[in-house]
């Protein structure tokens, strides 16, 4: 990467511990590293419990106790996030980095109108007067396609439908003028028609404002729709990183292949069975000593039980952590 500009976000060897089965701390996120460039949409995917939410919370140093960020670095726009004084961190959240949390029900203030809450974010992060902020708030509500923003800005959260609430949250995350949006399952609760609209909005904002996005999602259809690059997480580790076309066309890791193969839409409509992935993600503290995926992997061989594969370059801008990748050249080169 010599000569290239430093990425907007750079995460290095992030390790996050949670209380384990018998009280001791066990790693839930283990030495995770990745970069996001300006204007890049990066999807973070994986099954439930893989560590996606903890990873995204760590970007703004918000992992909730007793969970603990043990080690690793997060650099945003050249600044060491973990080393920032508390007040600077506050300003970063909602300022440089906009956040949409996984639990939308709890993210809006129930006793304030969405217009007022939005205006306060704008006053705080952009230093506008109260009046100018109110105008700007209405502009953002329009920007996220909330119908009738002039009236809806006076609505309380409970008066909005789920789709409207999600759009209000997006406005809230964007109004502070962030360069990076971290959105955790922002469309999981939405109808497909509203989902298409929210995804279209993200693409438009990326084009207009060069907004970078870390999009946490279970839904590979959403990934296909908007992502430039994909990080596949399994049991607290990134097991594959690839440009989106490469990931769907030539998945490197058996876990990625299993996720793609399990989509009902990937099966012919008249097929009798869907390909399924047996078992479940091992909990933190119960991960096998070798490759974490080995107990569920259909392609495992001797080495996978004993040793742990690390991410290595796997061609066409991809990286994957799987011993099969090492084996291929060994077979070819006598």
């Amino acid at each position: 990467m010599s000569g290239a500009a430093a990425p907007l976000l750079s995460v290095h060897a992030l390790t996050i511990a949670v209380p384990g089965p018998s009280g001791e701390e066990v790693p839930a996120v283990d030495a995770v590293s990745f970069d996001i460039g300006a204007g890049e949409i990066v999807a973070l995917v994986g099954e439930s419990g893989c560590g996606k939410t903890l990873t995204s919370l760590a970007l703004v140093d918000l992992v909730p106790p007793p969970v603990r960020l043990i080690s690793g670095d997060v650099f945003f726009a050249g600044r060491d996030v973990r080393a920032l004084p508390a007040r600077e961190k506050e300003r970063l959240r909602g300022g440089g980095i906009g956040l949409v949390f996984q639990e939308p029900a709890t993210a809006l203030d129930p006793v304030r109108t969405i217009g007022r809450e939005l205006a306060e974010v704008i006053e705080r992060h952009r230093g506008l007067s109260r009046k100018a902020a109110a105008v700007e708030a209405e502009r953002w509500l329009k920007r996220v396609s909330l119908p009738d923003p002039g009236r809806q800005r006076n609505a309380f959260p409970h008066q909005l439908s789920g789709g409207m609430r999600q759009r209000a949250l997006l406005a809230l995350a964007l109004a502070g003028g962030p360069r990076l949006l971290v959105a955790d399952e922002p469309t999981a609760a939405l109808d497909v028609t509203v989902q298409a609209q929210v995804l279209g909005l993200l693409l438009a904002l990326r084009d207009e404002l060069s907004l970078a996005v870390l999009l946490v999602t279970h839904d590979l259809g959403v990934v296909a729709e908007v992502a430039d690059r994909v990080l596949v997480m399994y049991a607290g580790e990134i097991v594959e990183s690839a440009p989106v076309n490469e990931l769907f066309a030539r998945p490197r890791h058996p876990y990625t292949r299993a996720l793609l193969g399990a989509r009902p839409g990937s099966a012919p409509p008249d097929s009798a069975r869907l390909s399924a992935l047996r078992g479940a993600v091992p909990e933190p503290g119960r991960r096998p000593p070798g490759c974490s995926f080995e107990p569920r992997c259909g392609e495992a061989f001797g080495r996978c039980v004993a040793a742990r594969p690390i991410l290595v370059p796997a061609g066409a801008g991809t990286e994957a952590a799987c011993f099969l990748l090492d084996r291929v050249p060994q077979v070819r080169v006598p």
């Binding site: 119908p147 028609t193 298409a196 609209q197 279970h218 076309n245 009902p264 839409g265 409509p269 399924a276």
Partner: protein, 326 residues
């Protein structure tokens, strides 16, 4: 088509249901009707609030419609007296979206699965226990699960328990309300395979009324699909026909809004949308007309009836200007 089509297992006609809400009365069902053939699967799709769950609750007799009829297995289902209803409830099973809240947290898995058998007085205690064990095995859970509590299982395992329980009495109909929506793709495909295997392999060959919002799931599992919009069925057809050539503009919008299976340029234009109208204050005429790109003046005035498509047998559509007509 043969001269006389087989009598459907479930026949729903003209269901109406209005709820009181703080904002005013909400008409959740506005003349819903469909047939479900024995051993087959009908999917109900449509956006949040379109009346899918309310329809299911009427069929389950958990809600009483203001008007309309349900004929199940030859009986006037809504008119059944309580005693007769209790006797026949065993013919209908149900699985809800959230396995965490639909299973009694104090009972073991074995007790949960055997409970419907006890309620209907099926078998002696030992037989019920043996049957519960067989059911748990049929949903591919280990026998050790029988002694465990719901909270000791994963979400996918709990959904298997809910399915085993729903099938315990060998029902002829199972209502599945978003049964895989809360599950990961990996677990989801296991459960979908299981549902299909059970429909084909179980002695009672149950019919499914399947409610879902993931269209790729519906496409895979359902023989027929009914699209709901604001308390009405606006299109109903064999699933492959509906997906290949939607005729109602709302069906077309739903299909065009689906995320793609693989990345690449979009072949369909990205849908431009407005917010769905308020259920308290539905628009006059066709309820979809304010969002419809094909609306004509008549659409704002008259509600189009759901009529069978003259050009294609087996499809019904409620639209003044169905796609592909001109």
């Amino acid at each position: 088509m043969s001269a006389s089509p087989p009598v459907p297992l479930l026949s729903v006609r003209d269901l109406h249901k209005t709820f009181a809400s703080r904002a005013g009365p909400v008409t959740a069902l506005h003349g819903v009707g469909f047939d479900l053939a024995a051993g087959s699967t009908l999917a109900l799709v449509g956006e949040s609030g379109s009346g899918k769950t309310t329809t299911a609750r009427v069929v389950l007799r958990l809600a009483t419609p203001d008007r309309g009829s349900v004929v199940f297995d030859g009986a006037d289902w809504l008119g059944l007296p309580a005693r007769e209803l209790n006797r026949r409830r065993r013919d209908v099973g149900v699985v809800f979206q959230d396995p965490a809240t639909s299973l009694d947290p104090r009972l073991t898995i074995g007790e949960i699965v055997a409970e419907p058998l006890a309620i209907h007085g099926i078998g002696a205690r030992a037989e019920r226990r043996a049957r519960a064990a067989a059911l748990v095995a049929s949903v591919e859970l280990p026998a050790s699960a029988l002694a465990r509590l719901p909270r000791e299982l994963s979400g996918g395992q709990r959904q298997r328990v809910a399915i085993a329980r729903a099938l315990a009495t060998e029902p002829r109909l199972v209502v599945l309300d978003e049964p895989v929506s809360a599950l990961d793709v990996s677990v989801r495909s296991q459960i979908l395979n299981l549902l299909r295997d059970l429909q084909r392999g179980a002695p009672s060959r149950p019919a499914y009324l399947f409610i879902g919002h993931d269209l790729s799931v519906v496409r895979w599992i359902a023989d027929r699909t009914a699209v709901m919009y604001m308390g009405r069925i606006v299109e109903e057809a064999p699933t492959p026909v509906l997906f290949a050539s939607p005729r109602h503009p709302y069906t077309a919008l739903l299909l065009a809004s689906r995320p793609r299976e693989t990345p690449g340029p979009r072949s369909l234009p990205r849908p431009v949308l407005t917010e769905p109208p308020s259920p308290v204050d539905p628009p006059p005429g066709c309820p979809f007309h304010p969002r419809c790109a094909f609306a004509r003046p008549v659409c704002a005035q008259e509600m189009p009836a759901l009529v069978s498509d003259p050009t294609e047998s087996g499809r019904s559509v409620a639209c003044h200007a169905p796609l592909g007509d001109d």
